[in-house]
């Protein structure tokens, strides 16, 4: 990271190579569409490169990069929700469901339903569940990424899980 901050483009490209899969997976689970996830992943790296000077070791480099990506994703989702309030869930859930069905034969149906329900959550609840339950980040990391206190995160995490559960019934 220090080399990248010093202007070493190869070092930054190495960071991109190391982070791209996790970052893409997280963004995909939040936005639900491959094309958007692809674009947002690239945008995240470009923004991270522009903001390298703002990184002072306050967290792991991956979490710092992830924070940029998650905020971009939430922002993108909110834009889409404003513009396509009636068609958002269909497309996103269908993409997620298809991938889930391809990924696991045993619990594919359950995952499909899960992803459909996930696609119905609002952007922040989705991000919380993805960061905590899919990416297995700890509370402090998720709270840092979403810029909310840990106590508030815990409450929202529970409510996100409850909303997801309601969506599955």
């Amino acid at each position: 990271m220090q080399s990248a901050q010093g202007g070493d483009r190869v070092a930054f490209a190495n960071l991109v190579g190391a982070f791209q899969d996790s970052l893409y997976n997280t963004i995909l689970r939040i936005v639900g569409q491959e094309d958007e996830a692809h674009d947002l992943t690239q945008e995240t790296f470009l923004k991270a490169r522009d903001r390298l000077g703002e990184y002072h070791g306050q967290c792991e480099p991956y979490v710092w990069t992830l924070k940029i990506g998650v905020q971009l994703s939430i922002s993108q989702l909110r834009k889409l929700q404003r513009k396509r309030s009636f068609s958002l869930d269909e497309g996103q859930a269908a993409g997620l469901a298809r991938r889930a069905a391809e990924g696991s034969e045993n619990n594919g149906e359950a995952q499909q339903q899960l992803l459909t329900a996930l696609g119905q959550l609002d952007a922040e609840y989705r991000a919380i569940l993805v960061l905590r339950d899919v990416e297995n980040l700890n509370y402090e990391q998720v709270a840092d990424i979403l810029e909310i206190p840990v106590a508030l995160l815990q409450t929202r995490l529970f409510r996100a899980r409850l909303t997801l559960h309601d969506g599955l019934r």
């Binding site: 899969d21 899960l114 996930l118 339950d133 297995n136 815990q154 409450t155 409850l162 559960h165």
Partner: protein, 291 residues
């Protein structure tokens, strides 16, 4: 327990983050509310399902596309920065040249004005500017016949020079405070925000290309939103009699004589107001030019 606290504790219970004692409290709670236990168990299962979601790999072209975008942005950035730097340097040079020109013209105008015989009355001066620079001059005229000696009236002239999107209002006065107050009053009334350095306490004199000393600029404002119309209004305002001093109003006659009246526009641009001290202007002129 407050709802938020219960929710936090239940969340931590689902995540397996409670210590034995806290876990026991939650277990007791769930024993009392079997429907809540059922809910929590379902949430634990759903959490496990989320964890088992297949991990997607980034498309292979993410890295290559990113590198391409990076190269493009770096090239564009270099190009843009280079252009900006060149433009900035160019703008600075042209502004410096324009300011030098203004100072020389202003200085010459004041010299001519001072050198004129008082009995003839001082004619309104027109700032001589290139054809491309429309100028409006508001200058002080003294009465042809001097009445009984009175306190000297402040000498103020104001010119508007427009070149492209640059507008410069040049004010020359032997009473800096009065000029500054009037300009500030005008800016406040027009709600024009302005930034300016305080009047120089230790003025520095810059050298012009002709090696003549250039008069000290006492006050300089940058007025980002000032229009040509407002600049003209400001210049016109110096033709009004100051109300604070009856002596001034009797002894000073101001007239407006535009050489080329620019049409007021609403186009905002980076505008400048400069105020010079008349004494400095006079002092900086070469001796031979007074003849």
């Amino acid at each position: 327990m407050a709802n938020e606290n219960i929710e936090s504790q239940l969340g931590a219970y689902i995540d397996g983050l409670l210590d034995a004692q806290q876990r026991e409290v939650i277990e007791q709670y769930l024993d009392r509310y079997p429907e809540h236990r059922k809910l929590i168990d379902a949430m634990i299962q759903e959490r496990a399902l989320l964890r088992d979601l297949p991990r997607e790999k980034a498309p292979e072209d993410v890295l290559t596309h990113f590198q391409e975008q990076l190269e493009r942005s770096v090239l564009l950035e270099d190009f843009t920065n280079g252009n900006v730097a060149r433009e900035t340097r160019g703008s600075r040079w042209s502004l410096a040249a324009l300011l030098t020109l203004i100072m020389l013209i202003g200085g010459a105008s004041v010299i001519i004005w001072i050198a004129m015989p008082p009995k003839r009355g001082r004619q309104t001066e027109n700032v001589v500017v290139p054809d491309t620079l429309p100028a409006t001059t508001v200058a002080v005229e003294e009465p042809a016949t001097q009445p009984a000696p009175e306190p000297a009236a402040p000498k103020i002239s104001a010119s508007v020079i427009a070149a492209g999107d640059q507008i410069i209002v040049m004010i020359i006065s032997d009473d800096l405070a009065a000029a500054r107050n009037r300009a500030e009053h005008f800016l406040a009334s027009e709600e024009l925000s302005h930034s300016h350095p305080p009047a120089a306490t230790e003025p520095t004199t810059t050298q012009s290309a002709t090696t003549s000393p250039v008069p000290t600029m006492e006050v300089a404002w940058v007025i980002p939103g000032m229009t040509l119309g407002q600049a003209n209004e400001l210049a016109q305002s110096f033709s009004e009699q100051p109300s604070t001093s009856p002596a001034e109003s009797q002894s000073t006659t101001l007239s407006t004589q535009p050489t080329t009246q620019p049409e007021p526009t609403s186009q905002p641009a980076s505008q400048v107001i400069l105020i010079f001290k008349q004494a400095d202007l006079a002092a900086t002129q070469p001796v031979e030019s007074k003849n």
